[in-house]
């Protein structure tokens, strides 16, 4: 598995980029002990204009580099946690629907469709607007709008694995249905779930940035989306204020997508055909 993954160069680039982003996020308090909110110089300093401020300062004279580093913490945290919560909702629901079928399936899928009919982003905005915009509520809102595809995927996978002969064999062994689902069926659906999760983290980061851009972010947490949103009005005079956070979002999302693609190739070797023996 790892061998196949590591032979995929784009995926390795993704891993390196992601590790770099994570490192910056973790080292933020060491690199910028003053925090992101402290004013350090006069506002609107160009990048490299003053020593020690490689990315310049923003409208209030705060260090853009420090903001970027702390923003990485927020983005990654929201992305990871919301994906985990989405998996916690989607996997059990999809597994039950796919495994038991019948009314369970009908019920679970109609419930899922209820969420799918409302546009993701609109629902997220409404949810955040109803709750207080805190990191927790934003994370929850993102999770609530992103679990339905997980449920669908898991349901489809479980339905196909359930028909394999080893499941019949497990039934003949007298195993109970819940146990068959947990020990025989679900382990065989893990690969596509991992692939999807890695891509979901990227989408979640984008969603969080979009929410913050619209001013629906947590006012106490500085995120990349918030930086772009705040710099919107001065984009023609101070391009670097929106350029660098935008670049950070692009790099992180790209890294996660590359990793997702790489995992997909490594975990589903059947889909890979070029240069392979059939």
């Amino acid at each position: 598995m790892w061998k196949r993954f590591s032979s995929n160069r784009p995926a390795l680039v993704g891993v390196v980029l992601l590790i770099a982003v994570i490192a910056v996020a973790l080292l933020a308090p060491v690199l910028f002990p003053n925090g992101p909110w402290k004013m350090v110089q006069r506002p609107f300093l160009m990048p490299m204009a003053v020593d020690g401020l490689p990315l310049g300062t923003d409208t209030l004279g705060r260090d853009v580099a420090a903001q970027l580093a702390y923003g990485a913490q927020v983005s990654l945290l929201v992305g990871l946690v919301s994906t985990l919560v989405a998996l916690l909702i989607g996997v059990p629901l999809g597994a039950l629907a796919g495994f038991y079928g019948g009314y369970v399936d009908e019920g679970a899928m109609r419930f899922t469709e209820f969420f799918q009919t409302i546009p993701n982003f609109a629902l997220a905005i409404v949810l955040v607007a109803i709750f207080e915009p805190t990191l927790a509520s934003i994370t929850l809102a993102i999770a609530i709008v992103s679990w339905p595809p997980v449920a669908r995927l898991v349901r489809a996978e479980v339905m196909s694995v359930r028909r394999r002969e080893f499941v019949d064999a497990a039934r003949l062994a007298g195993l109970s249905k819940p146990r068959i689902l947990l020990t025989q069926v679900l382990p065989n659906t893990v690969s596509p779930i991992i692939v999807m999760a890695s891509l979901m983290v990227a989408t979640a980061i984008l969603l969080e940035s979009s929410l913050s851009f619209l001013g629906l972010g947590d006012p106490n947490a500085l995120s990349w989306g918030y930086m772009i949103g705040a710099a919107r009005t001065v984009i023609r005079s101070a391009w670097w204020l929106s350029f660098f956070p935008g670049l950070a979002i692009i790099i992180t999302v790209l890294a996660l997508n590359l990793i997702g693609e790489g995992l997909n190739d490594a975990l589903n070797p059947h889909l890979r055909q070029r240069g392979q023996k059939p």
Partner: protein, 538 residues
């Protein structure tokens, strides 16, 4: 006159494959009007040779050396446009699985006329005419209707006929047939083989026929080459290779074939291990406001018993309901009526809860060795889950699992490995060990050896025979292959369209069948005449 001459063909596999070459230094010729059979087990490189001729090699696989002279042109070195003109027009190919080779969204007639259209021949009206003639020639019933049918509306044999009609459309000089009858029932297979022979006689085509079945070879081959791991190990006229094989590998293959040689009858058992009484299972499909429900009587009022220590063969063509019967007997399928008595308990009437406690009494060995083991579970887990659930202490179950792995010939350290580390035959042994681990009263083997190569098949049959004698096993052995059934079974039950047609001892069924259908099945066994010539009743 030589139609095709292959000289020193070597095909290279991509690095990391199990061997460097798919075929190595393969040479043979096919004359006009001759049928050459290429025989070998899976992985012998027999299909690669054909694919190379058609320019259908998978990515990464390349022709390293050698020539393929077709009418004095080296087809391997032709530029792609000329190759394309050759394909279909002069060389045609038919495949094993007609359903995947035909376009599911096109009518049969359109697929045949498309062949003409691709080569810019004839007017549309004439194309249709010719399509109709071809459909008639390959013996499809009701040609006017058939050319308007979609592939899914045809049976397997009819689809294969349609494929052959397409292949014949441009009157090719060479027909390559890659295991065209492997997916078909015996009676259908016999018909298709007759059709190939017929067409060869009428059109004087050369035929390259790829197969793993020596029975098929005996039916149609003029000359034979036997391939093993990419090399030709034996070649010669069919009668010579079959009658007096020179190479030790050919002899092994021939020995491995279930010949229909009947084993001596064994004493009949008195106490029943399984009693099936009046079993019925009906599948209902479709049905809406205005459409009637379609009913298929998969199992229709079948009664039979399997004695303790007896092996009962259940034989029938696909769709005869034999698999449904097997799955009903282990209650993977709940019947609509009737009783399944195992040790006095009616499995068909138990609730889900009570059933789980009785599950261990009947176990099953499945057909597909690749699908019947959980790829993410170690062998030990697969063998101990059931017994532990039954209440056997873990340590004892594990010790028993190791013993069983020894018994089926794998060795105890197989327990720590994952299924993908084993070959098909080894996996089937694991499947048998898993069934034995539950100490069942009865084992149901559903086409348990059908997916295996002949030599592996022979080994697994030997194992089953050995276990039957040593452990006094009762087995319900479901198969479509009468030759296999003859090897192992004490009695044979023949099913057709959900009904039990005939049941009797192996000797009765083979030597004095009472029903027409049984006689038909026996006559359709490929190579029957050849086995008979060798002094064996078949």
């Amino acid at each position: 006159m030589t139609t095709l001459a292959i000289e020193h063909l070597t095909i290279g596999l991509p690095p990391g494959a199990d061997r460097p070459f798919a075929t190595e230094d393969v040479s043979f010729t096919i004359d006009k009007g001759q049928i050459l059979c290429v025989v070998g087990e899976s992985g012998s490189g027999k299909s690669m040779t054909a694919n190379a001729l058609m320019g259908l090699l998978p990515p990464g696989v390349t022709v390293k050396a050698g020539r393929a002279l077709f009418q004095d042109q080296d087809v391997l070195r032709l530029p792609e446009p000329q190759k394309q003109a050759l394909r279909g027009a002069r060389i045609a190919m038919i495949f094993q699985e007609p359903m995947t080779a035909l376009n599911p969204l096109m009518r049969i007639g359109d697929q045949i006329t498309e062949v003409f259209a691709a080569h810019n021949l004839y007017s549309p009206a004439e194309r249709r005419m010719r399509a109709l003639t071809l459909v008639r020639e390959v013996g499809l019933p009701d040609p006017e209707k058939i050319i308007r049918a979609y592939p899914f509306q045809l049976s397997g044999g009819q689809r294969q006929r349609a494929m052959i009609a397409m292949a014949l459309a441009l009157e090719p000089d060479l027909l390559i047939a890659d295991e065209p009858t492997t997916a078909l029932d015996v009676t259908t297979q016999a018909q298709i083989l007759r059709l190939v022979l017929d067409l060869r006689d009428r059109r004087g085509m050369a035929v390259m026929f790829i197969t793993h079945d020596f029975g098929v070879v005996a039916e149609i081959a003029d000359t034979v080459i036997v391939m093993r791991e990419g090399r030709v190990v034996e070649r010669g006229a069919a009668a010579q290779v079959l009658g007096d094989p020179q190479h030790e590998y050919t002899r092994r293959l021939l020995d491995a074939i279930p010949t229909g040689r009947l084993p001596p009858a064994r004493p009949k058992a008195d106490t029943p291990a399984l009693e099936i009484k009046g079993l019925r299972k009906i599948y209902r499909t479709g049905g809406g406001l205005f459409r009637p429900v379609r009913e298929v009587r998969a199992v229709d009022d079948v009664s039979l018993t399997v004695g303790r220590g007896e092996v009962l063969g259940l034989v029938g063509e696909s769709g005869s309901g034999k698999s449904t019967l097997g799955r009903t007997a282990v209650r993977l399928v709940t019947p609509d009526g009737g009783q399944v008595l195992v040790g006095g308990v009616d499995l068909a009437a138990l609730s889900e809860q009570d059933l789980r406690a009785q599950r261990h009494k009947v176990q099953m060995v499945f057909q597909d060795p690749y699908a019947s083991l959980n790829p993410r579970q170690r062998i030990m887990g697969a063998l101990t889950d059931g017994p532990i659930q039954k209440g056997v202490p873990r340590a004892q179950a594990q010790a028993r699992a190791r013993d069983l792995l020894e018994i089926v010939g794998l060795g105890a350290d197989a327990a720590r490995r994952f299924p993908h580390e084993f070959s098909g035959g080894q996996r089937q042994r694991i499947g048998i060990a898993r069934a034995l681990a539950m100490d069942p009263d009865l084992i149901i083997a559903d086409e348990a050896v059908s997916a295996l190569d002949v030599s592996i098949q022979a080994q697994v049959l030997d194992l089953l025979r050995d276990l039957r004698d040593r452990l006094n096993l009762s087995i319900l052995f479901i198969t479509h292959d009468l030759r296999v059934a003859a090897q192992l079974c004490d009695r044979i039950a023949v099913m057709q369209k959900g009904k039990l047609v005939e049941i009797g001892t192996v000797h009765d069924i083979f030597l004095s069948p009472r029903q027409d259908y049984t006689r038909q099945l026996l006559a359709a066994v490929p190579g029957g005449g050849w086995a008979h010539d060798a002094g064996l009743p078949a």
